[in-house]
Symmetry: C2
Subunit: 265 residues, 2 copies
């Protein structure tokens, strides 16, 4: 059983990923993002996305009520439906779910965020984002036993039943761990972990969690979260996490055959 | 067991409907629309909705590929997520589904539409709309046995696995028939069938299918489809169809207690 996370950046080749998944003789769960489409919709509707900057250097999308509505429109509406429809065309009985459906994904909202705005510390209390903490694996197992291929999207449901923005890579890691997946394949618009972002030839092909510290400083932005997600999946019992390129033909097969950055415990 | 269809027109009071559903001691399936929100999003994105006019006098939304994406964003993304989140807040384990999920709703696409454009007949071949023909009631029963409250939205999946726009009232009628519901309650922004559209006091309180012919001429636009859906539900074995007002407090309880237009076989 494999979990395939399809990134939400630009340049993702959905057709290539899904026809590869459909052709593989491997039980699969799909988790997807939608970040670049959300930015694009938000701008088209005249709402410039606002980013929150943390003292750690981390940056995340400010998700107010209106942004959550746009988030749901893009992730649960447009992209989830698109993937489910395409998989049906490929002969797979796909079943789209958001983390809200039956409380599939439970999360904890960050009720107070200390952010930097023009150099000053500021507390943000109305952000609808947080961390995913639990997945209802019984529900996923039930659906898979009935022959469905789950296609899963954030948001998650918070402890007070609010839809919250949670990181898709970490959702995929948690699902892979809870389902005891053989591999978690995180596809995005980069070839894997690069020592030099400008040089796709500087790919780190293999990595162990103990060796991660030595290369972690190469990871920028989203790649930091992918390494964190990889660590979480592996510590949850997943045998292998592969960070691989979503812009190529047969991206899943290539990753399983050794492409991208393979991370083991 | 009741099926509640929540209309997609303006003025629908979602909170009133959902708190009523949550308080009622009645197994429920919800089906919803999203028409006015779709029109509004489409306009905000600079795409003026195009209507198809038929010789019969019927009018329907032209659903090209781009419109279907917007449709999914509004129906499956925004409104479905909103209803599911609100129901969780009310203590109900809601489970959102579109007709694509696991092929829940099967439909037949209208491959050739003869429409009138500026008085001339024209054939439209790329419209993504059609009729719902089948519902996977086993899937719904499975979810309900597990304690989930299904919240269902079009589109349906066509025979060639395309997402198609199907009428929500007729979807609700088919689901009510297949599940053997005691009642189908169709809530919209009118009090029921009115003899005079301008006079809410002209409500037809009771109606039988055999008596429908005598009052059918009062039905305009969407109300014609509601009467057709009512007929389909009743001929499928549903005991009672109620067309009732979605703009009031406790709209479901009021409908069950005699409000709106009650239609029986």
């Amino acid at each position: 059983m494999i979990v395939v996370k399809i990134g939400g950046g630009e340049g993702i080749n959905y057709d290539a990923i899904l026809s590869d998944v459909a052709a593989l003789d491997e039980e699969t769960v799909i988790v997807h993002g939608g970040n670049s489409e959300l930015t694009s919709l938000s701008r088209r509707l005249g709402k410039e996305p606002k980013m929150l900057h943390f003292a750690s250097g981390n940056v995340s999308r400010y998700t107010d009520q209106e942004t959550m509505e746009l988030f749901e429109m893009v992730y649960c509406g447009k992209i989830n439906s698109l993937l489910v429809e395409k998989l049906h065309k490929l002969g797979k009985n796909a079943f789209g779910l958001s983390g809200l459906d039956g409380g599939l994904l439970k999360g904890e909202r960050k009720k107070e965020l200390v952010v930097l705005e023009e150099g000053k510390r500021k507390v943000v209390r109305d952000d609808r984002s947080g961390n995913v903490v639990d997945v209802d694996s019984d529900l996923l197992t039930l659906l898979m036993e009935k022959g469905y291929l789950p296609v899963i999207s954030p948001p998650a449901l918070s402890e007070d039943n609010m839809a919250i923005n949670v990181d898709g890579d970490r959702v995929a890691a948690l699902i892979a761990a809870e389902l005891g997946a053989d591999a978690l394949i995180i596809l995005s618009n980069v070839p894997g972990l690069l020592k030099d972002l400008k040089d796709e030839g500087s790919l780190v092909a293999e990595l162990s969690v103990s060796g991660m510290e030595r290369v972690e400083h190469h990871a920028q932005g989203r790649m930091k979260i992918k390494l964190l997600a990889a660590k979480e999946a592996l510590s949850g019992g997943v045998k292998r996490v592969i960070l691989a390129d979503a812009r190529v033909q047969k991206p899943v097969s290539k990753a399983l055959a050794g492409g991208g950055t393979h991370i083991v415990w």
